[in-house]
Symmetry: C2
Subunit: 282 residues, 2 copies
């Protein structure tokens, strides 16, 4: 049986084959059609029941250009070599940290600095990370004042200078929650924030690229709504559920992404490294 035919058959009841036609040449290779949601808001929970192994579009067979695949026999030595070449081998360990407590009495971001307690929380988190005893391969921070300050205090504990600043992970409304907020909110914030935060998720949360040779430990300092949304999306849970979780200031949320695309939540809102009398949430 040809690979193309096998793919059509294996795509099951809903299977539907489309021929990949480029402007330059017609490919012989046939893809089963994959229903890709345009954005998270349109994801139906029916798609969540079955784990989507190509959730980050990095499944090896989907990374290989069809022109390469068509030239060789399925399961041949050459085929297995090619597959291996496109198969990620590294595991990514991501630690998402919520910033420390900050001054909410101001409206402008630049004045919403960490409180003294918030600074202490960041230091405790930095110390806990230092105690892991490893070098972090990447350090990312949201571009909001409270995240930058938290990141700086943590990095001082780690002697980590390099940091990547991003607007994609700034705080916002990732998706209207279910059950809904207890008070009315306009739809404007979700309308503007949703695609940005989804873009942040897609940029930072995926299995290792094939170019990554070693396992990595990465830290991302950002915000409660962003982290909760990312957890739902990474675990393929309904993203509307994000408000059913809550995260303390300075808490850690750990996701492991294995080379085969499996994702495990190792902890959520872990703040046991902060003394009881230094805990806060708002």
């Amino acid at each position: 049986m040809s690979r193309a035919f096998k793919l059509i058959v294996s795509s099951g009841i809903a299977g539907c084959a489309v021929y990949a036609v480029s402007q330059n040449r017609q490919q012989k290779f046939t893809f089963p059609r994959i229903q890709t949601p345009v954005n998270a808001a349109t994801i139906s929970t029916a798609q969540h029941l079955k784990w989507d192994s190509n959730w980050d579009k990095r499944e090896p067979l989907k990374l290989i250009p069809p022109s390469k695949l068509n030239e060789i026999k399925e399961n041949s030595e050459e085929y297995m070599e090619l597959l291996k070449e496109y198969t990620p081998t590294a595991t990514r360990r991501l630690i998402f940290i919520r910033h420390g407590q900050y001054h909410t009495e101001y409206k402008d971001d630049e004045y919403r600095k960490l409180t003294t307690l918030g600074q202490e929380q960041a230091v405790y988190t930095g110390i806990r990370l230092r105690e892991i005893g490893i070098d972090f391969d990447r350090f990312v921070e949201s571009s909001m004042t409270r995240a930058i300050e938290t990141s700086e205090l943590i990095r001082m504990q780690l002697n980590q200078e390099d940091v990547e600043r991003t607007d994609l992970l700034r705080e916002g409304s990732p998706i209207s929650p279910e059950p809904p907020f207890r008070y009315w909110r306009s739809e404007v914030s979700v309308h503007t924030d949703q695609p940005r935060i989804e873009a942040g998720f897609r940029k930072y949360v995926h299995r290792a690229n094939i170019s990554q040779k070693n396992d990595s430990h990465e830290v991302v300092v950002c915000h409660a709504n962003v982290i909760r949304y990312i957890v739902c999306r990474a675990l393929q849970l309904p993203p509307e559920a994000w408000l059913r979780m809550s995260l303390k200031h300075g808490s850690m949320t750990c996701l492991t992404i294995f080379p085969d695309g499996h994702v495990t939540l190792q902890c959520l809102g872990e703040a046991g490294h902060i003394p009881q009398d230094k805990l806060s949430i708002e």
Copy 2:
């Protein structure tokens, strides 16, 4: 508009009224039909998208005998009094703790005692709970050896003697996970464990009963699979997702259940109170 009619209308497109007919008398009160899954295995994710506010069957209006409701006018003073009488007022804070590391080289539960490390983890967890500085209102332990030992070590730190032992929360296979286990497993364990663990969930996880006057803090010492399943069920997430989470030995997972039935996950697998070199998962 009569209450009965309003209920029919408010039950929406899928609304369907059935008349509650007891063997003794016909009730005038009309219920919208609520689709109740027989067990968790039959819950479709479509039902998860919308939050089911009567998930624990303790919604005030569902607790009032129809005979009482029929005798009074809707929204009358008497009606509001009755509703108030059946409305829970207390918040429940549940801390689920995974037992410490144990001897997996034996098969019989009685020999699967805590390792020295497992004992230390339990003590750290006990100390962290003591530092909260409150008296716990209820202490529950699974009847498996490693849970009993962990519970005992924790309770020694808290001077807590009273404990409720249960078979319902013993370790087991709550539901076949999605994505599936990486190796084959027979269906026998899920077949026998699923209804038991679901029964444990229904017994211990629900909004406060109307008889509970004060907020409560409760500790439950049990097992990783059980806790992960309970988190999915309590947050109304697809229960098949339980294996996408992982819990360290001695870690805490905190659920808050508000009087209106809303549930929040405060932390999952929190083990920051245990030193880095004392952490373990298997």
